[in-house]
């Protein structure tokens, strides 16, 4: 029971934060809403006994990346950006699209309710060493090659970022 209550609290935090992130006018408010959303997701990780992901979410996303976001926001001219008409001015159309898609999904969902067999919730199996070790096994053994290839992806992104930002390389 308590778990269900906590789940809905964290889920509501994540969704509300995400909605506020894209609708707030002031960029700093957007960033703070994003922190709330990421915090909600971190809570969900904790409830799934993924302690390592929870810690990484807090330290990296909320701690590291969001601070960088705020730095960048402070470097750009906020006044000018706030005065400009925002891109969500066509929110009526957006709302219609989102509502329409949602209604369509709900309809299909109800129609296909007979075929809807969600796999039973997987009970976390505490291995020796717990969550961190099982994550390490997946990341560094089963998916070692994609993990290494991600470094190539990061290299491309860094080179690209420098090329776009620097006038003279």
């Amino acid at each position: 029971m308590t778990e269900t209550v906590f789940f809905y609290c964290f889920a509501a935090l994540a969704v509300a934060g995400a909605i506020l992130t894209v609708t707030m006018r002031n960029a700093v408010h957007c960033a703070i809403s994003l922190i709330a959303s990421l915090g909600g997701v971190a809570g969900l990780y904790l409830m799934l006994h993924a302690e390592f992901l929870f810690a990484v979410q807090i330290v990296l996303y909320i701690g590291g990346i969001m601070v960088l976001f705020l730095f960048v926001i402070m470097l750009v001219n906020l006044e000018a950006a706030a005065r400009e008409r925002q891109f969500h001015r066509s929110w009526v159309g957006g709302l219609l699209c989102a509502g329409g898609t949602g209604a369509m999904l709900a309809w299909f969902w109800l129609r296909g309710a007979g075929t809807l067999r969600l796999p039973p919730a997987v009970q976390p199996t505490p291995r020796e060493g717990g969550n961190v070790e099982s994550l390490a096994m997946v990341l560094f053994r089963d998916y070692l090659v994609p993990f290494e290839l991600a470094s190539l992806l990061l290299l491309v992104a860094i080179v690209g970022g420098v090329m776009m930002a620097k006038k003279r390389i």
Binding site: L105, F108, W109, G112, T115, L116, R117, L118, P119, F140, R141, D142, Y143, L144, V145, P146, L149, A150, L152, L153, L155, V156, A157, V159, G160, M163, M164, K167, I169
Partner: protein, 488 residues
């Protein structure tokens, strides 16, 4: 999953083309830092040789087909075909880029490094059998493409193209990744062969609704990457704004790799659900052809016209995909090979005529080209006729096999509508030829400089490719036909 964590030497050899491309890209970047300004030309040569080496390695490792890294990667005829194809596209683009970059005064190693990284990603997309690997390959290829589209960073059109491509492209990638996550949630695997096994196994208790939702999300991402309707809006703006050699690259390399990925996901994983895919693909293919062809009719900018034409060609290839058969897959592979040569060739001529700062890209600039440069007018005519689908050129057999595959799969109406569409396409291709041969050069159009060595070689190779595939299609088609069933 894997028993041992250390990959065997055999597995690493199967990964050799990607390793060669990544190393080559890194060395080109280091060379940029180390070499003096005068010797930049060597970087282009280095990039070209790396691509050649990767293509040779891809052929070499195909002698020993199989999987690698616990079934994450698969080397078969299909992956070899596309590895060689994207490397060839990369080589042609390097050739037409050398002179362009020198004229624009932006000759740098990073350009070639990004092309190499992008091709590495595309090779990975062709050879992966696992959605996470596919996604990493896709992102490698896409991020490099976003940067290349905005390569001339002081040019407004380049900026617009790069920003649009980046925002829309990352959105589409996110859709794809979300689809992967849903598939994992529904089936508990991201391996394509595993997905197929679960879908075929009635006792597995697969949730059809969630799998369908996952497939729909995957389709959005894939349709964006191949510029299929209704996700094609980015293509004209990006191709028009990006530097001409980059537009040539975007229209063949990433597109061919995205189709490889599309084919593998469709044919390996989702063939058991073909009844659900067919109406969706049917609609998308028809809409893509119609939108591409009819929008191209009114264009006056040649780069934009070629962008719409490339949307239309994606539509033809989707017709082959709709068939969801071995002949369909082979037809799509053949078409992509033919399209690579004829489209890069057409863009090479546009690059040449456009001149410094790409000032001459309007249709009017091509009027009387036959007087100003008869050879260029002749080769552009060959490429345009091939894009139209005239016999003796590669485009004819490409279309022939696609519509034959559609008829074999009882998609009579789609084949008929596709044929009508290619008749519409003839209008805007022939209009350029009429402009070149039957109009006077516009006043003030000076003599064109003699084309650089790179462009000459690229054009020679493209003309040769267009004719060889048009006269002896069996060279490529036999290989494609033999490797298409390997997808299953």
């Amino acid at each position: 999953m894997s028993v041992s964590s250390i990959p065997s030497a055999q597995e690493i050899v199967r990964f050799a083309p990607e390793i060669a491309l990544s190393l080559g890209g890194t060395f080109v970047m280091l060379g940029e830092a180390g070499l003096k300004n005068g010797s930049r030309a060597r970087l282009a040569v280095m990039a070209f040789l790396t691509l050649l080496a990767a293509a040779v390695l891809a052929v070499f490792v195909a002698a020993d087909p199989g999987t690698a890294f616990s079934n994450l990667l698969v080397v078969d005829g299909f992956s070899t075909f596309f590895r060689v194809l994207v490397c060839a596209a990369g080589m042609l683009v390097v050739l037409i880029s050398t002179n362009y970059l020198r004229v624009e005064g932006h000759d740098s190693g990073e350009y070639y490094a990004l092309i190499l990284f992008s091709v590495a990603g595309q090779c990975l997309m062709a050879a992966s059998n696992e959605l996470i690997m596919l996604f990493i390959g896709l992102e490698c290829s896409s991020i490099a493409s976003y940067v290349l589209a905005g390569y001339l960073r002081d040019d407004r059109r380049n900026n617009e193209a790069a920003l649009k491509y980046f925002l829309l492209g990352s959105f589409a990638s996110a859709f794809f990744l979300y689809g992967v996550a849903w598939l994992w949630g529904a089936l508990g695997t991201t391996n394509l062969s595993e997905v197929r096994r679960l879908l075929l196994d009635p006792s597995a208790g697969v949730d059809a609704t969630m799998t369908a939702a996952a497939a729909a999300l995957l389709l959005v991402g894939l349709a964006f990457k191949v510029s299929a309707a209704p996700f094609q809006m980015w293509a004209p703006d990006v191709y028009q704004g990006a530097p001409a050699p980059v537009a040539a690259f975007l229209s063949v390399g990433p597109k061919a790799a995205a189709f490889a990925m599309f084919l593998r996901i469709l044919m390996t994983a989702f063939v058991p659900a073909r009844g659900q895919w067919e109406p969706v693909l049917w609609t998308v293919a028809l809409a893509t052809m119609v939108i591409g062809n009819f929008a191209a009719l009114h264009q006056t900018n040649v780069k934009r016209l070629l962008a719409y034409s490339s949307i239309a060609h994606a539509g033809y290839i989707l017709v082959a995909l709709t068939a969801m058969s071995d002949t369909g897959a082979a037809a799509a592979m053949f078409y992509l090979a033919a399209y690579t040569f004829m489209n890069i060739g057409a863009f090479a001529v546009v690059t040449y005529v456009a001149g410094r700062g790409e000032r001459h890209v309007e249709l009017m600039d091509f009027s009387g080209l036959s007087r100003r440069s008869p050879a260029m007018a002749a080769v552009l005519s060959i490429f345009l006729l091939s894009l139209t689908g005239v016999p003796l050129t590669a485009g004819f057999f490409g279309k022939f096999y696609i519509f034959k595959a559609a008829l074999d799969a009882d998609l009579v109406w789609l084949a008929v509508l596709g044929l009508l569409n290619s008749a519409v396409a003839a209008y805007y291709y022939l209009r350029i030829i009429v402009m070149m041969y039957m109009h006077e050069p516009s006043a003030g159009a000076g003599a064109l400089p003699s084309p650089g060595v790179g462009i000459r070689w690229a054009l020679a190779a493209s003309v040769a490719g267009t004719f060889v595939l048009g006269v002896a299609p069996s060279l490529v088609l036999d290989f494609a036909t033999a490797s298409a069933p390997l997808l299953r």
